[in-house]
Symmetry: C2
Subunit: 401 residues, 2 copies
C-alpha cells in the first residue's frame, strides 16, 4: 500500500510544531512527510522585537530546522512556495519544481498589513523575519553613526517613529528604550537628542488590553522618554517621515510599521476564499470544501464565539492548532475521528524592555518583574515543546530576574 | 612679568605631543599654554583603517585628552578653530569667541585630497576621524544587512570599492578581508558574492614602496580575494559606484576614498602661502615671515633634500616635529638657540590584516608576522611617548603574534 504524502508549508510556529508532533505521532511506515520552508531555520516571531532593537542577537531567536527535527523521518526542502494548485494536489516551488501531496498543511504565516496607506511598503520597516530585523538593527545603528558626520546636524537621524502601539509596537518601543542609551554612548550622542515616537490611530496604546495594565505600560515607557501620540492616524509614509491625518509631518529617517498583519497573500492567489489572507477554517481546521487541506497559524481565521470576533493570530493559538492538526491528520490516515479545535487562551504578556512587562495570566494581572519572568517562562515553554530541555538550555531565557 | 601665551591648535600627533612635551619641559611660571581641539579626545589616525573595517573598536584608537594631559598645567578648550588672524595674533573659535597668543602652534591636520574628481565629496567615504570610521563600519554592515531583504538581490550591496592602493588603501583592504568572513556569517551571505576592488591610478599598488614587498602584499591580498585594478584612474564617483577613465562603470554602494590627503584648508583661508594646505616651513618649523607661528604635522611641508621631494606627511614625522617645536618654543621663551628639524625615518610598516604586514625598518625588509609584530611595537611606542606605560597597558596592542 502506498504511504500517504503529507506536505507542510512553512516552518513557523504552526508548521514547525506540526512537523515535530507528526514525527512523534506517526511511524515511518504510516506517512511520507515533507516540510518546505524558505530558510533552513525556524525563528521565533514573538521574540523579533528584541533583535530588531539590537538587545538580543538574532541567532538566539532562530533554530536550525535539522537541529530539532528528525530529518530522517521528515524530509526538509529549503525553498519558497510559489503556488498551491489545490485542484491538482500539487505545490509549485520557486526552485525545486513541483511536489504532490495527499494532505496539505498550510502554515505560511503573515505579511504586514499596510491598510493601503501610501509609502508604507517603500519607506517603512516591518518586524517580520530574521532578515528584516537584522536590517532594522543595522539601520538604527547607521542613523546614529551618520549623525555626527553631517555638517548641519539633522535630528531626523535620531527620531524613531513606531507606527502602531499594539503588542509588537509596544514591545519594540520597550526594547528601543533599553538600546538607545547604549547607542548614545557608542556614537557620542546626547540622549536628549533622541526621540522615540509611538503613533497609534486608536484612542489608547495596547487597544483591547486591560486599562490598568495599559496605564502601567505607558507610564513606564514615558518615563523612559517615549512620546505617545494616540488618536493619530497616519496618512502617508514618505522618505522623510510620516504625514499624519491632520496634515502634520513628523520628520524621521526611520519608520517601523507595526500596525498588524494579514495572512500570506498566496492564500488568495491559490484560490482560497479568504479575508485579508485568512481562511475561516472548519472546526477541524480544514479549509471549507477541501477535505485534505489544513490551514493553521496566521492564515487561519478562528472566531471567538463569546464575542463573535476573530481571535488575534498568535503563537499560542498556532501551537495549539498544530496539536489539533496533528491529531486530525493521524485520524484521517488511520480512519478514526477528527476533533474540533478549541483555543485555550492561557494568558498574554507584553514585554516592555529590561525586566519590565505587563500581562494577564488566567484572571491574574501581572506587572513589572513578575510579568517579565512569566514572559520568559512562556518563551522557554515553547522551546521545551519544540526541542525539549536541550533546546531550552541552548536558546532559552534563563535569567528570569 | 606677564607669562607668554602659547596656543596649540589641534590635538593630533603633532599638537598632542607638543602639548605633552611642553607640560614636561616648561614650568607653570614660564608660560600659559592652551590646547584647542574639536573633540575632547585625541585619536590615532594611523590605526583608523581597523575601526573603519570593524576589526577594532574605535575606542581603542582614541584617548581622552584629560586622561594623558595635565590639564592643571595646560588649559584645554573643546572647540573648532574658525579662523587664524595672524596679524592680530588671535584665533577665532566657532563657539567660544577669540583667543590671543604670543606663540602659535598649528597642528590642524589634513583633509582628503579629491583631486577635483566629481562626486567624491558627495558619494565616497574617507578614513579620517573617529566619526567617519564609525560611519564606514556601520555603512558596510548595513549593506550586508540590506542584501537579503531585496526582492531582486543586488550585488552592488556586496561590492566594496577602495579608491587608492597607497598606504591607507592597502591597510584598509587588508582589514576588510579579515572582516568580510565575519559579516558573511552574521548576515547569511555567501563569501563568493562579496567583491573587494582596489582601484589605483599608478602602475602599482603601494607606489614608492620596495617592489618585493609590494608583490608580497598584493599576492597575499589577492589570495584573500581582493581584485586589484592598477593603471586605472577614476573619472567620477556617483551614487551607483565609480566611472573609470575609460568610461567603464563599476557598480557599488560603497566607495572608500584613500588617495591621499592635503593640509587643512584653514591654512590658505588664514593667508599662509601654501601648496594644497601645506606650508613650506623654515628649518626651525616656523612659517616663513612669522616668527611666532610654528606649523607641524600634515600642514607642514618638509623637503627631503636627498631626492628633492617633500616627505609624505606621517605620524612619525609629526611626532618628531613636536619634539623640535617644543625645544624651539622653550628657546624663544628662555632666549636660547633654536634648532633645525631633521626627520629621522626609522622605517615604515603597512599592516595587511590579521598577523600579516610588510615593511622596511632601517635597511631591513620585513614580511608576515615579524612585520606585523613590528607594526604593533611602533603603535605601542607612540602610546608610551604620549602616556607612558599606563597608556600602553590601557590601549596598546599587546598580543604581538
Amino acid at each position: 500500500m502506498k504511504k500517504p504524502k503529507i506536505l507542510i508549508l512553512g516552518a513557523g510556529y504552526g508548521g514547525m510544531m506540526t512537523a515535530t508532533r507528526l514525527s512523534k505521532e506517526l511511524s515511518y511506515n504510516e506517512a511520507e512527510i515533507t516540510l518546505v520552508n524558505k530558510h533552513n531555520y525556524h525563528y521565533q516571531t514573538t521574540w523579533l522585537h528584541e533583535p530588531a532593537a539590537g538587545t538580543l542577537h538574532h541567532d538566539r531567536t532562530r533554530i536550525l530546522i535539522d537541529d530539532v527535527l528528525d530529518t530522517n523521518k521528515i524530509k526538509f526542502i529549503k525553498d519558497t512556495v510559489a503556488k498551491i494548485n489545490k485542484d491538482d494536489k500539487t505545490v509549485t516551488l520557486a526552485n525545486n519544481g513541483e511536489l504532490s501531496y495527499d494532505y496539505l498543511v498550510i502554515g505560511l504565516g503573515s505579511e504586514p498589513e499596510t491598510f493601503g496607506i501610501p509609502g508604507v511598503k517603500e519607506h517603512a520597516f516591518a518586524i517580520r523575519s530574521v532578515n528584516s530585523v537584522r536590517q532594522i538593527r543595522e539601520h538604527i545603528e547607521y542613523m546614529f553613526a551618520n549623525y555626527n558626520n553631517e555638517e548641519v546636524k539633522s535630528e531626523d537621524y535620531l527620531t524613531f517613529i513606531v507606527a502602531g502601539a499594539g503588542f509588537t509596537g509596544i514591545e519594540f518601543v520597550g526594547e528601543l528604550t533599553e538600546r538607545v542609551p547604549e547607542l548614545c554612548e557608542e556614537f557620542d550622542i546626547d540622549r536628549s537628542k533622541v526621540r522615540i515616537i509611538n503613533v497609534e490611530a486608536s484612542p489608547t496604546a495596547l487597544p483591547g488590553f486591560d486599562s490598568e495594565l495599559v496605564e502601567y505600560a505607558v507610564d513606564l515607557l514615558e518615563s523612559r522618554g517615549v512620546e505617545f501620540k494616540t488618536n493619530t492616524p497616519i496618512k502617508e509614509c514618505t522618505p522623510d517621515g510620516v504625514i499624519l491625518a491632520d496634515g502634520t509631518e513628523i520628520k524621521s529617517k526611520t519608520v517601523i510599521w507595526t500596525t498588524g498583519v494579514r495572512g500570506n497573500s498566496l492564500i488568495e492567489e491559490s484560490g482560497f476564499e479568504a479575508m485579508r489572507g485568512r481562511v475561516k477554517v472548519d472546526p477541524d481546521l480544514r479549509a471549507p470544501g477541501h477535505d485534505n487541506v489544513f490551514i493553521i497559524g496566521d492564515c487561519a481565521l478562528i472566531i471567538n464565539e463569546e464575542i463573535n470576533r476573530p481571535y488575534p493570530p498568535t503563537a499560542q493559538i498556532a501551537i495549539q492548532q498544530a496539536y489539533t492538526c496533528t491529531h486530525n491528520l493521524k485520524a484521517l490516515i488511520t480512519g478514526s475521528e477528527l476533533k474540533a479545535f478549541k483555543p485555550e487562551i492561557k494568558g498574554t504578556v507584553a514585554s516592555l524592555g529590561g525586566d519590565e512587562a505587563v500581562g494577564v495570566v488566567g484572571k491574574k494581572k501581572l506587572y513589572g518583574t513578575s510579568a517579565s519572568a512569566m514572559k520568559k517562562v512562556i518563551d522557554n515553554r515553547y522551546l521545551y515543546l519544540l526541542g525539549g530541555i536541550p533546546l531550552v538550555l541552548k536558546k532559552g531565557k534563563l535569567k528570569l530576574f
